[in-house]
Subunit: 246 residues, 2 copies
DNA sequence: GAATTAATGTGTTAATTTTACACATTAATT
DNA sequence: AATTAATGTGTAAAATTAACACATTAATTC
């Protein structure tokens, strides 16, 4: 390689000290977090949306988001937003993808990091009395503000994939649940019908269900047994599996 | 809910117009892209690293990264960086995760979006003559600058997972390859030994291999048949699978 | 060039996992 | 007491994965 070529190369590869000065310059970008919050109610998978008040998207619904503060970890930011909107902090929350096309936001360049959360609708009803917030049946989620439709689709597909690898669904159910409720949830998320016997077999073989020796109450049919999720056992088993962010 | 409570709520839930003004304010963060570039050479999985010239990390190795430009899509930025470092642009490139703890970078608040790429070392030897760049055996990758060790570990684990779901490995091999080379690659990535017969059976049943009716040349043993990867067929099949970012 | 060596190339069987499928049981309702 | 609609369970077939051994080829050695 010629000296000229090396010079050329040296120019094209930015050094870290160069980056350092750039960091201090105005070479910055607004960064936001958007949360796709799934719930499960009336046997339907729901997503929590907020009404957009931006002129361009007046009347449209959008995801729950906010700018990341300069002194705030990314994950912390996601938890803050979730907390602000739902009052909840002890939930499954996972980073999904970062969206950063130049013109995705009408207010200027905003890169957004998406997080996904699964919460129990029944336990947090009080937090969504606000008119601006609403649980939407995911079947009716279309035409969101900004690129939020794309973000939602991405998260939903990811949820469909991950629920088949990990028993995340428990986060959407009450502490005590019947196997029928569990199956309804899976059928709603995956948009498919499953064989009841094979479904039960599969979950029992996973060995994450604790038989609490209680029955459903006030159901208009033969009550089913109630179970709790064995988080402890799950956490132990997770460590033995291969993967990143269990 | 009382009027006061509603006021309180209105304050805590930031409106989009509020965000708009914030976007224009100084509430911005430096955003970078870091690329974890995997290669395969001498039957070893390698990762391309650059020598850090930041005082704090003098002598340490780091990932290839650069700040995202305000007028540049995130993906575009990743491709630009890859192109700058390797001269390559037509490769598999995938966003992995975004790292954003406050103190991850000594130069200030820098949130970084990680991308992962698989390239063919043989085809791009010329681009890494630069002393500052080096292919590291992944077994010897420890103690990188910044939080790059964590980022690398994350990408490597993800690669291990994804290679089992998708035949990404072809991107690391020359256009023509033998089944032994392919298996060596998988064994290097997954750090395991596999049964040769089952491995071959599996790949043939996938039906992504084109028999080009050529044999290995200049090997010190019985030459094996050479194959090409059927990208077209793979692309077609991808569409039928469930998932996000195939 | 014959013998040796070290790799390629192939098929079957067992084990495991997944799928398909039917009937007895229970408790609420009529 | 009879009816209804759900829960709860087991088995057989099918598909997938795992284990395993020997003949073949061409380069190398003698």
């Amino acid at each position: 390689m010629s000296a000229e070529a090396n010079m050329e190369k040296a120019k094209s590869i930015k050094t870290l000290t160069a980056i350092q000065s750039e960091v201090e310059s105005s070479n910055k970008i607004a960064l936001s977090v958007d949360c796709v919050i799934f719930g499960f109610d009336e046997n339907k998978l729901k997503v929590l949306l907020i009404r957009s008040d931006l002129k361009k998207y007046l009347g449209k619904w959008s995801l729950l988001g906010d700018l990341v503060r300069p002194d705030e970890d990314l994950d912390t930011s996601a938890y803050r937003i979730l907390k602000q909107r739902t009052g909840l902090n002890d939930v499954y929350l996972e980073q999904v993808h970062t969206f950063g096309t130049v013109n995705r936001h009408p207010a200027g360049r905003v890169v957004t990091v998406t997080y996904c959360s699964l919460i129990n609708v029944q336990h947090h009803k009080l937090n969504i009395l606000d008119n601006e917030l609403h649980w939407h049946d995911i079947k009716n989620v279309t035409d969101l503000a900004f690129d939020h439709q794309q973000i939602f689709d991405n998260c939903y597909q990811r949820l469909q994939k991950r629920i088949q690898e990990h028993p995340l669904g428990f986060n959407l159910l009450p502490k005590k649940f019947s196997l029928r409720e569990l199956q309804n949830l899976y059928e709603a998320i995956l948009d498919t019908k499953m064989d009841r016997r094979n479904f039960r077999k599969k979950f029992f073989s996973m060995d994450f269900l604790i038989d609490i020796d209680e029955m459903e109450q006030d159901v208009p049919h033969r009550p089913g047994k109630l179970y709790k999720f064995n988080y402890e056992k799950y956490e132990k088993k997770k460590k033995k599996w291969i993967g990143i962010d269990f």
